[in-house]
C-alpha cells in the first residue's frame, strides 16, 4: 500500500498486521506506541515506592494494584508496537534501559511525598485518559485494541487519585497547604504533558494524516483544562498564576507558552534531565536485580539454587 492510499483509507482501526503498510507509517506508529509503552513502565516505577509509603492498608492495596496495571499496560503496548515489524520488544526494552527510549515528561521528575501522588494519579492520569480515549479510534488496530483494555482499567486509577486528593484537601490545614504546594510544583509539568503548541509540534501532521493521532496537542490540552480546572477548584486547590491561562469566549483556553520552561522540556525530551536519568538508571538497576527470576524462568532445566534471591528494591 502506498502512502496516498494509507491517507485515503486512514480511519479508526483501519489497518492491521495483515496490511502491507509503507515504512513511514510503520515507523511513525512505532515511535508513538513505543513512547506510550515506555511511559507506562516509567510511570509505574515512579509510583512504586508509594506501595510502601501508603498511609493505610486500603491505599497500599490500591497503589499496588495500580502499579501492576501500569506494567501490564506497558506489556500490551509493546506487543502493539512490535506488531508493526520495525522494532522487537527486546530492542525497545533495551533502549529504555540504556537511556535511548523516550517517555512522558512528567515521569522524569522525582516524586518523594505522599501529597504528590494525586498529581500523577489524578491529574497526569486524567490527562492521559483524555488522550487515550481518543486513541481508541487510532488507525493501527492493535493499538486501538490495547486502548480498549487500558481505558477499562484506567478509570479506577483516576478515581483513586481523585479520592486521595479529596482526602488530603479535606484534611488538616497542613495537609492542605502541602497539597497546594505540590500542585503548584506539578501544574506546569502537567500542562506540558500535551507537548508544544500545534505549530511547534514536529510529528503531529503526519501522525494525524494517517489516522494514528486523533486530536492535536492544543485540542487535547483544551479538553483537559476544561475538565480538570473545575475539578481542581472544587477540592479547594488554587490554580497557580503561571503559566497564565486565559479562558476565551468560545470556552477554550489559551496558555501563555512563554510562561513554561521549554528548555527543561526539551532537555527532558532528549533524556538529558538529571532526575530523569536517575529514574532510567533506577529502573535498569531494578531490572538487573531480578535478572535471576528471568533466568530461572527461561532455563527450565537448571535449579534455582546457589544464590540468595534478591528483591527489586
Amino acid at each position: 500500500m502506498d502512502l496516498d492510499t494509507v491517507k485515503d483509507r486512514a480511519g479508526p482501526r483501519e489497518f492491521s498486521p495483515a496490511d502491507d503498510l509503507p515504512e513511514e507509517y510503520r515507523k511513525a506508529a512505532t515511535r508513538m506506541i513505543e513512547f506510550h509503552a515506555n511511559s507506562e513502565i516509567m510511570g509505574a516505577y515512579l509510583e512504586r515506592p508509594f506501595i510502601r509509603q501508603a498511609p493505610s492498608i486500603d491505599r497500599k492495596l490500591a497503589c499496588s494494584a495500580k502499579v501492576q496495571d501500569e506494567i501490564g499496560h506497558g506489556q500490551l503496548l509493546y506487543r502493539a508496537a512490535e506488531s508493526l515489524g520495525v522494532k522487537t520488544r527486546e530492542e525497545m526494552l533495551d533502549d529504555l534501559a540504556n537511556g535511548d527510549g523516550k517517555f512522558l515528561n512528567c515521569f522524569h521528575y522525582e516524586m518523594t511525598d505522599w501529597v504528590e501522588t494525586p498529581m500523577i494519579a489524578f491529574f497526569v492520569d486524567g490527562a492521559a485518559m483524555r488522550r487515550q480515549a481518543t486513541l481508541r479510534r487510532t488507525s493501527w488496530e492493535p493499538y486501538a485494541h490495547a486502548m480498549d483494555k487500558v481505558c477499562f482499567e484506567e478509570g479506577f486509577h483516576v478515581k483513586h487519585g481523585e479520592d486521595i486528593l479529596r482526602e488530603l484537601m479535606s484534611g488538616s490545614k497542613k495537609e492542605q497547604e502541602l497539597t497546594q504546594a505540590a500542585f503548584e510544583e506539578w501544574w506546569p509539568r502537567i500542562i506540558q504533558f500535551f507537548g508544544p503548541t500545534d505549530d511547534k509540534s514536529t510529528h503531529h501532521d503526519f501522525a494525524a494524516s494517517v489516522g494514528l493521532k486523533q486530536q492535536s496537542n492544543d485540542q487535547l490540552r483544551n479538553a483537559f483544562l476544561d475538565q480538570y480546572i473545575p475539578k481542581a477548584r472544587s477540592y479547594g486547590l488554587e490554580i497557580p498564576d503561571e503559566p497564565r491561562i486565559r479562558e476565551l469566549d468560545d470556552g477554550t483556553y489559551e496558555v501563555e507558552e512563554g510562561d513554561l520552561d521549554w528548555d527543561e522540556f526539551f532537555t527532558i525530551a532528549k533524556n538529558d534531565y538529571e532526575p530523569g536519568v536517575g529514574q532510567i538508571n533506577g529502573r535498569k538497576a531494578a531490572q538487573e536485580a531480578v535478572q535471576w527470576v528471568r533466568d530461572t524462568i527461561e532455563s527450565d532445566a537448571t535449579a534455582a539454587g546457589g544464590h540468595a534471591p534478591q528483591a527489586a528494591d
Partner: protein, 105 residues
C-alpha cells in the same frame, strides 16, 4: 484435523471464536471456514488455528480474578465530587458491568 475458526465482523473489531472446521491443511481450513462461517453472518476476516495449538485453562484449574475481595480495584469504590470526565464515567460503567457479570460477590 480440527481447525478453530475466529470471525471478525468489521474492520477493527476483535476476532471472536465462532466454531470449527474439519480440514487436512491450512489452505483447505480457510476455504471451509469461509464457506461454513463467513457466508451468513457479516464477515470481514477469518482466522483458522489448529486445535492442538490452542492452550486452555479453565475455572477448575484456577480461580480467575482470585478469591479475595478486590473492591479497591474498581472505580465504583471511590466517591468523587462534581462531574467526572466522560472517559472516566465510561470506564467506570464498563467496570461496573464486568463486576456484575463476574457474579462472585
Amino acid at each position: 484435523m480440527i481447525w478453530e475458526v475466529f470471525r471478525q465482523e468489521k474492520t477493527g473489531q476483535y476476532h471472536t471464536h465462532c466454531g470449527n472446521v474439519h480440514a487436512p491443511d491450512r489452505e483447505m481450513a480457510k476455504q471451509f471456514a469461509a464457506i461454513q462461517h463467513g457466508r451468513r453472518k457479516p464477515t470481514n476476516s477469518l482466522w483458522v488455528v489448529p486445535r492442538d495449538e490452542v492452550g486452555e485453562i479453565d475455572a477448575e484449574d484456577v480461580a480467575f480474578g482470585g478469591t479475595t475481595d478486590k473492591a479497591y480495584r474498581w472505580a465504583t469504590t471511590y466517591k468523587t465530587t462534581g462531574e467526572d470526565a466522560r472517559e472516566v464515567v465510561e470506564s467506570e460503567d464498563e467496570q461496573a458491568t464486568a463486576e456484575r457479570q463476574r457474579g462472585d460477590d
